[in-house]
């Protein structure tokens, strides 16, 4: 693609803009990189110059039974949330792809709006509502709340994939005598498989990092991010860096998996 009119290009301006981009990315990644570096640093109050290389924060974290419990809760919640939100998201994406009906705008708003509501408000509303039906303080409460904010991500990912599909594919299956269900099973789902897997990983990653709503509704069943919030409230501790690096690496692996599946899925060239 043409990147600007060559007659109108100034090397100095171009260089300055590029420098600015680099600085912006440095700003975005500085806290992430610092947390990675300091997770291996022996000092209790991290700063420069760096102390010695040490894995003591990882050992401290690994020796904390509450962290393990948090991790177990996080994984449990994450997996269940990913399955439910992807199923719901798939249904909504397919609905949007195939049907038009009165009130579709409202349907889509319900399907996509939840992540734009501030998490403190969602947290309070969820806590108040779930405690009325005796569900708060339970891992189930976190699952319910997380599906609300994760399903829109699943829907967006799968809807994007469906928009690459030729609608005549499904119709061809019908014409060849397939029932709607058979066409769903043999045409739509195989076509969407990479996006479905991608949605599973993306929603899991979102759930892994969500702390605010989980903090409101989880009670004693804290997930790992809620535990991190606890560390932040208590004494400042480099353990946060160790957990953060661990969670970051996990999330990145999920994301890379999702990317690979979305980019090079077996169905991606079947147009």
């Amino acid at each position: 693609m043409n990147t600007g009119n060559p007659a109108n290009r100034s090397p100095l301006l171009h260089g300055l803009l590029m420098l600015y981009v680099v600085l912006a990315y440095l700003f975005v990644f500085a806290p992430i990189l610092a947390s990675f570096v300091f997770s291996f640093n022996s000092d209790r109050f991290p700063s420069i110059p760096l102390g010695q290389f040490s894995t003591e924060w990882y050992r401290a974290v690994a020796a904390d039974p509450l962290v393990w419990e948090g991790l177990r809760n996080t994984l449990l919640v994450g997996v269940v949330v990913a399955l439910i939100s992807t199923a719901l998201g798939f249904g909504a994406a397919y609905t949007d792809y195939r049907y038009s009906f009165l009130g579709k705008q409202v349907y889509l708003a319900l399907a996509l709006l939840p992540p734009t509501i501030p998490v403190v408000i969602m947290g309070l509303a969820m806590l108040a509502f779930l405690s009325r039906v005796n569900l708060s303080g339970d891992a189930l409460a976190v699952i319910i709340a997380h599906v609300v904010i994760c399903a829109p991500f699943a829907m967006a990912v799968i809807r994007l994939r469906l928009s690459q599909m030729d609608p005549s594919l499904e119709q061809a299956a019908w014409n060849l005598g397939a029932s709607e269900w058979a066409a769903m099973r043999h045409v739509i789902i195989p076509f969407c498989r990479p996006a479905i897997l991608g949605a599973l990983f993306v929603t899991m990653a979102v759930s892994f990092d969500e702390f605010a709503i989980a903090w409101f509704v989880s009670g004693l069943n804290e997930t790992l991010p809620v535990k991190v919030l606890g560390f932040l409230q208590g004494q400042v501790s480099p353990r946060i860096n160790a957990i953060g690096t661990f969670v970051f690496v996990t999330s990145m692996m999920l994301l890379i998996l999702a990317q690979l599946l979305l980019g090079h899925g077996p169905a991606s060239r079947k147009e």
Binding site: N8, L17, S100, L110, P118
Partner: protein, 280 residues
């Protein structure tokens, strides 16, 4: 396309609808009812009493928090937009396709890193013996009290919103009609003037929506104002967490939450109207 209502179609459409009605719409509506409930002897009971509204609205701290939150979120939206724009502009117009894809992918990574961890990391940078003050010390300056300031709160907000704002601006710029820019250049419109007279007005919808998201994110965030701003001056989000977590004053927290929702709706409505003003 078949359009009749069938069991098949409903199997796919209904689950999400039911889930979001039950666990998204209903809890939010329930907040309205809750705001009229009363608390006696640390127990909430259904009621229809405006006491929570009059109590909260009668408190100076509430209005001070409201003003602070509104001002900080507006400042964050403006600051983030201004900081993001040159970056989005350069990625959209100056990078070759391959590099642009990389740039976009890198900007997505922050969404999957813990915001809490990043805020803690900024504490390490900003504290009195932190990285920035040590570096300033090398050239004989400081130390400055950087942490627990409004500037630090804003830094947290920008950290939260910048990646999203860059991406949204970027998408509105990528899909811009490039012949407009070339036409401007051909008519000897200067570079800076092209940006302000052609690029920004054409991409206005995307730019305003991006700023709106920065506002929404900052308006509701309680982590940055507590852990970077030191909780003083207090914001509405801090007020909600405090009111909810300490004591059973959920009805009062509901009043704050509803006030925030209405404010957000008004801001969103005004922004969208501004974004589309003069368009068909």
């Amino acid at each position: 396309m078949r359009r009749r209502i069938s069991a098949y179609g409903l199997t796919f459409s209904l689950p999400l609808l039911i889930w979001q009605l039950l666990f998204f719409v209903f809890p939010l509506v329930f907040l309205i009812a809750l705001s009229f409930w009363t608390v006696r002897n640390f127990r909430m009971q259904p009621d229809f009493d405006t006491v929570n509204w009059t109590t909260m609205y009668g408190r100076a701290i509430f209005w001070q928090a409201y003003g602070t939150t509104l001002a900080l979120a507006t400042a964050a939206a403006a600051l983030t937009s201004v900081l993001a724009f040159p970056c989005a502009y350069a990625i959209a117009f100056k990078l070759p396709n391959g590099a642009r894809r990389w740039a976009i992918m890198l900007m997505v990574i922050p969404f999957f890193t813990s915001y809490l961890v990043r805020i803690y990391s900024w504490q390490v940078f900003l504290s009195d013996a932190g990285i920035i003050n040590v570096m300033l010390g090398w050239i004989g300056l400081g130390p400055y009290g950087l942490l627990n300031t409004m500037g630090a709160t804003l830094l947290g907000y920008v950290t939260l919103a910048l990646p999203l704002v860059v991406l949204l601006q970027l998408f509105s710029l990528i899909f811009l009609d490039r012949t407009l820019i070339e036409a401007a250049h051909n008519m000897r419109c200067g570079r800076l003037r092209t940006v302000f007279a052609v690029v920004i007005p054409s991409a206005r919808v995307g730019l305003v929506i991006a700023a709106l998201f920065a506002f929404i994110l900052s308006f509701g965030d309680f982590v940055s104002p507590i852990y970077l701003g030191g909780g003083d001056p207090t914001t509405l989000s801090i007020l909600i967490t405090d009111t909810t977590k300490s004591g059973q004053q959920w009805p009062r927290a509901a009043v704050i939450a509803l006030t925030m929702i209405v404010t957000l709706m008004v801001v969103a409505f005004l922004s969208v109207r501004f974004a589309y003003r003069g368009r068909k």
